[in-house]
Chain length 193, copies 2
């Protein structure tokens, strides 16, 4: 944790962590380079050594969240033959990702679409939603969940429940295993016939 | 809809609607009196005819949302003998309130606690949550919902699902009845044994 390490990756990581907390506190639109420099305790020109500007910090922030979420879709368990098992897996792992990367996912979920990076992030979020929505549709077709609900709406509400934990979850203050099990149990029972 | 009606309540209502949309766009912290005057198309001093400042506009905004939510708790149906029926009612009506007062509830849900008004709003939200949490606890005690989930956590997740609709709901773009029925069905099935 020594200072003065220059342009090493460690410093970008630390700058990113600071930027994320400022984005959460002030909102991305409300954050200036001055705010970031003050919070990081470095000059604006030092920040420009690392990134082109605040939009690049936003891109790195949402990339970290999106990469973690999309990685779930490539996991071994996502090859399970029944869609209901894939749904359980993706929901449970999404809870873990939200808890592990809480501030990064929080910024991702608050993206509004005013810049190119934000519009890209929104599109990637929609892409993730579509993957989950397809799993819900398949699970209904396989008879494992009720078919009287529109899959796209059911998926949106289930992910809404998952995402809502970023509103109150603080690392160390909640039992992630209980949270994961409760959400998977409520979501799958909620979608059951 | 005539202009120049002076300090009539109608004007305060219109000013409030403008303020709410600016709060959503820029965040409450990021909104200045200049922003409000520009969006309303009136001078700052005209705004001061109506309210003491932006914090009063925030108070009026969150009061409108909170009054609508708390009114649910006094409705006839909330005297139903079984807690599960009261739970169904409060969730369904909360969906209707969120849809009817979407921008006002959205601002309420984004309150962070930096001012006295925000701290008051957070406390009132917690009070509403406690009411719903007690209903969940009673429903579990009456054997109508599963008892293996912590009522406070289950309540938080169910309301998180309800509240998540403010992220995407736009008046006229979704069927409120379908939304209400889907949420009540998923929540009660999700909590069922």
């Amino acid at each position: 944790m020594e200072r003065g390490a220059g342009r090493t990756p460690y410093d970008l990581e630390r700058l990113l962590a600071v930027a994320v907390s400022v984005f959460i506190e002030k909102g991305y639109d409300g954050t200036s380079m001055e705010d970031l420099a003050r919070a990081a305790g470095i000059s604006k020109s030092s920040i420009y050594h690392h990134v082109e500007g605040k939009e690049e910090l936003l891109r790195l922030t949402v990339e970290r969240a999106l990469d973690a979420l999309f990685a779930i879709l490539s996991e071994e368990e996502m090859r399970a033959p029944r869609a209901i098992d894939r749904l359980r897996h993706v929901l449970g792992r999404a809870v873990e990702v939200l808890c592990a990367e809480a501030p990064y996912v929080t910024v991702l979920l608050r993206v509004r679409g005013n810049t190119e990076t934000e519009r890209w992030a929104l599109e990637r979020r929609r892409e993730f939603d579509r993957h989950v929505s397809e799993i819900v549709t398949r699970a209904a077709a396989e008879g494992d969940i009720r078919s009287d609900l529109r899959p796209a709406l059911a998926e949106r509400l289930v992910l809404g429940m998952v995402n809502s934990i970023t509103e109150w979850y603080r690392p160390g203050q909640a039992d992630v295993t209980e949270l994961k099990e409760t959400i998977v149990a409520m979501a799958t029972a909620g979608l059951s016939k």
